[in-house]
Symmetry: C2
Subunit: 293 residues, 2 copies
Amino acid sequence: MSNSNANSSDIDLWIEESHRNIVGTRFRVLRTLFSGISEFQRIDIVETAGFGRMLLNDGLAMISERDEFVYHEMIAHVPLFTHPNAKRVLVIGGGDGGTVREVLKHPSVEHCRLVEIDEMVVNACREFIPLTSACLDDERVEVTIGDAVKFVAESDEKYDVIIVDSTDPIGPAAPLFGSEFYDNVRARLNDGGIVVSQGESPYYEADMQRSLLQILSSKFSITRIYNYSNLTYPGGLWSFCFASNTLCPLSDFDESKPAASSFEFKYYNAKTHRAAFMIPQFQRTKLGEFLKD
Amino acid sequence: MSNSNANSSDIDLWIEESHRNIVGTRFRVLRTLFSGISEFQRIDIVETAGFGRMLLNDGLAMISERDEFVYHEMIAHVPLFTHPNAKRVLVIGGGDGGTVREVLKHPSVEHCRLVEIDEMVVNACREFIPLTSACLDDERVEVTIGDAVKFVAESDEKYDVIIVDSTDPIGPAAPLFGSEFYDNVRARLNDGGIVVSQGESPYYEADMQRSLLQILSSKFSITRIYNYSNLTYPGGLWSFCFASNTLCPLSDFDESKPAASSFEFKYYNAKTHRAAFMIPQFQRTKLGEFLKD
């Protein structure tokens, strides 16, 4: 099993993620690197034929090495290039480390806390997906294993940017899509703070998007949704929600900053930042009443 | 077989489109409505469980009723809202009729010719997919069954907008991605004309995009690529190429026109028009030298 060039020519092995049993996306698997059952979920890391290593929680694809840059650049750089000087960042979920990696590129960031409920995700990614997890050893990072719902309710720490890098609203992540959780997130934000949340699929989960934006718009004066296209999640087009009481991701965004940074972006740039907020008409029709700036 | 509520509970029937045998997208099929082998390809129209009716050429998904609006709105309205007064439009390929349907929404259009090589596609769609094909009976439409490569080489007609609504660059559509074809397309354009072409996937077919843009940029002074996200094509994010000798799809686009029209858009609007040209960094890196305006 140590031969990384092993292929599946002897068996035809695929992992499939199905959406409501009407459509599915399949990836060819070469071998399984890790498989475990934690207190919260089943965790697998597989080597695929065309997507590098892939993390799956309860059989749902979380990240692949081939396209994780899309998700992680867009969840991190949109708030961090909108905020003028983010020093303290809280990442909720995201135990693979990819979001933290992008956050740390911003030299203003002095402290980044990752609160991940499932230690097995962190440990498995540390061992098998260094592409995203290596940054967790950075001295600015503090990894907290625990329930983020409890953390935001009980902590008295304050943050400039809070990123809810959650899985789908089933299983351990379900409370991360609730109203009470966002009351506590708001309380943990410094003045001028921003929260960005994983926002599901506009094609397949429009009601979920509506529910999340409804909650955010009841607590924040600026609420927007923005899109990105990746290869791993069903339907390709997915969204993040943006909320703040002071900062607008368009009018408070200085377009010169991304190019002036020394970051090597693969997906994000000043134009994709703006374009992401220009949503298709069907999505605007469904969500328009909750989009505020 | 006349019961449209028939389901596949008795058999587990799926149609799958694979990309290089490393990733696949599968759709649950309820029943086959049409299956035929023409001079050019195999043609199937199936009723799916969640995507309505779907047209497949040689097993590759061409359109589904669920999301065809994305492709057809974006291929038609970007050039037609950029052109100030398009009267004559040529659609090459697109035998399903969806592109023609969107073209005809523009009251300036007096004549729209569809040149489709495969009569079986037109006839099968006329019978089984009226959602896209019904417009082909419009008095402004002329359907020509024939080889578009020959048509643009031999015709002396002129058009304001030419839309190359082609399948992938394999099989009957391969010449539609060649240099000589675009010499003849250019010759068929009126002054101030625009050509838009189906441009494949930035993630999976970057070399093909580069090849097509290289050809276009050698013949036109303005060449751009623009993206859309659908559910049917592998990877979700796909592109169109835009070329003209006079009209820029951004600086010559009047943002007030889409909202002033009476069209009921599902995907397109003035902002998605602009956003589509704001391409991800990896795509800009690959194609930047051929993007001109």
